[in-house]
């Protein structure tokens, strides 16, 4: 990928490293995520996807290297502009759908009551759960909880949305619905960073980074990554294996 100006990038990681004790989760990782696209972080469990997302949202600090999020060196400075959907649905079971979403609207600083009510309704309608808005979260199915979790992440209309394995445990129909939601968000100019270990998700992304052992081993559009294998019928899975074995990025091959 060609070097973009800092203004066009939602995330720019330069040689960042993070270790949990002796276990290096992210190692000299370089990544540039342009604004307004869906960007997939693909890799097996333990590849460093969740750690990278937690670094970007400011839950962790890089131990070396530099990381800029929305042009800021400290992600905490732009926390209001970031939406985060963790791997677990992370909802308050006793509270209803609307109360959960309203709580996150409050902590993300939407203090005007009318404005908040409007954005809460919009977020819940967006995920198609308005009819269930009064249901306590603990009484919802797993897929519904994921949808409420997405509504909590988007209620403050963030320009950058980080979704950690958002489609895990969803049935195929709901997965399609989620991707429709994600496409709608990118159409509105939101930058989406989605971690996943399934190639099905990868195919939907505008750009992808393959991660392995805490580093980016390849980055490009799904088409570029498939073509880099030199096989016309190559799938993204083939492309992933190709880069794992050869560890060359399509940008190196061009």
């Amino acid at each position: 990928m060609s070097r973009e100006s800092a203004h066009d990038l939602a995330i720019e990681a330069d040689n960042i490293t993070f270790a949990y004790g002796n276990v290096k989760a992210v190692q000299d990782l370089k990544l540039q995520v342009p604004r307004g696209i869906s960007f997939g972080l693909l890799g097996p469990n333990g590849a460093g996807k969740s750690t990278l997302i937690r670094l970007v949202v400011g839950l962790l600090k890089p131990q070396s290297g530099s990381l800029e999020v929305l042009g800021q060196r400290s992600p905490r400075m732009v926390a209001r502009l970031i939406g985060y959907m963790p791997q677990l649905p992370a909802l308050y079971g006793e509270l209803s759908v609307v109360e959960n979403v309203d709580f996150f609207a409050r902590v993300y600083g939407i203090s005007d009551r009318r404005q908040r009510a409007q954005q809460v309704e919009e977020a819940i309608r967006f995920v198609g759960l308005w009819e269930r808005r009064k249901t306590p979260a603990l009484k919802l199915s797993g897929g519904m909880k994921q949808r409420v979790s997405l509504a909590c992440a988007i209620v403050h209309r963030p320009p950058l949305l980080l979704l950690d394995e958002p489609t895990v445990g969803l049935d195929p129909e709901l997965r399609v619905t989620f991707w429709e939601h994600f496409r709608d968000l990118t159409k509105e100019g939101v930058t989406l960073v989605i971690s996943s270990h399934t190639m099905d998700d990868a195919a939907h992304c505008d750009r992808l980074a393959f991660l392995r052992s805490g580093a980016v081993i390849a980055e490009g559009t799904p088409k570029e990554l498939r073509e880099a294998t030199g096989r016309p019928d190559a799938t993204l899975e083939d492309a992933f294996l190709y880069f794992v074995r050869g560890e060359v990025s399509p940008s190196d091959t061009q």
């Binding site: 949990y20 839950l59 926390a79 079971g93 509270l95 109360e99 709580f103 902590v107 993300y108 203090s111």
Partner: protein
């Protein structure tokens, strides 16, 4: 610190607890059952008068520690804490939000224990009732912060329960609940001096048995306030370390 964030977290905790009817019922009835059992277990002719101050302090510490410790840990284990930490709220907002949210229930619980002990179990006391209650509030706030702080070191609810023998029982044994601190070996008296329950029991005994005022037990009160403040800061620091780890 942002007031709006603290209010949002406090409000959410109050809603959550009110919805959990069984927990609400337990908060109200368990202390009454325990105090009644203690009263019934006393030998014929004895009264609760002398032990009541120590029991009130101990029960406030025990119930509040358990309530906050487990609730706070649950928030971490279900991932909501991480989500909250990724939002613009600060760590001190979270700890204060929890403190105020739980205070409402913990203070209500302390009031129930106090009123039940005095009016139903007929315990005689010297000082003013409202001063006993104010002192109990300070103990409750300290215990809330102790629960939050301790829970940041646990990964499961089972581990929080294991903190009871570690954090609560030594305080009960050394804090003047069963026998006066002055009668213990010197080195244990030094240990007792760094345990908040020692000051809680001493202050409550001062008001209830000797008719002291809040000013008269000012040193105990001051030490408990200092413990509460220090634990609030430590809780916020430890929270960051644990949520990130």
């Amino acid at each position: 610190m942002t007031l709006n964030n603290v209010v949002a977290i406090t409000r959410r905790i109050i809603y959550q607890l009110i919805r959990d009817r069984r927990t609400m019922a337990l908060i109200v009835f368990v202390p009454m059952v325990v105090m009644t059992l203690i009263r019934l277990s006393l030998p014929e002719g004895s009264t609760l008068d002398y032990v009541a101050p120590a029991l009130l302090g101990t029960l406030a510490l025990f119930f509040v520690f358990l309530l906050t410790g487990i609730s706070f840990l649950r928030e971490r284990s279900q991932g909501t804490m991480e989500r909250l930490m990724a939002s613009p709220v600060s760590r001190i907002d979270i700890v204060l939000g929890y403190l105020f949210g739980f205070s409402l229930f913990a203070v209500a619980q302390s009031l129930i224990i106090l009123l039940f002990t005095i009016f139903v179990l007929q315990v005689q006391y010297q000082g003013a009732l409202w001063q006993i209650f104010v002192f109990l509030i300070i103990i409750t706030v300290m215990a809330l912060n102790l629960g939050i702080f301790a829970s940041t070191f646990a990964r499961t609810e089972f581990q929080v329960v294991q903190f009871i023998p570690l954090v609560i029982i030594p305080q009960v044994l050394l804090g003047g609940v069963f026998w006066p601190v002055e009668q213990m070996p010197t080195y244990l008296q030094y240990i007792a001096k760094v345990l908040p329950l020692t000051y809680a029991v001493d202050g409550l005994k001062g008001i209830m048995l000797e008719g002291e005022t809040l000013l008269g037990v000012g040193l105990d009160l001051g030490v408990l306030v200092a413990f509460a403040a220090a634990l609030t800061v430590l809780g916020a620091v430890a929270l960051h370390r644990r949520a990130a780890g």
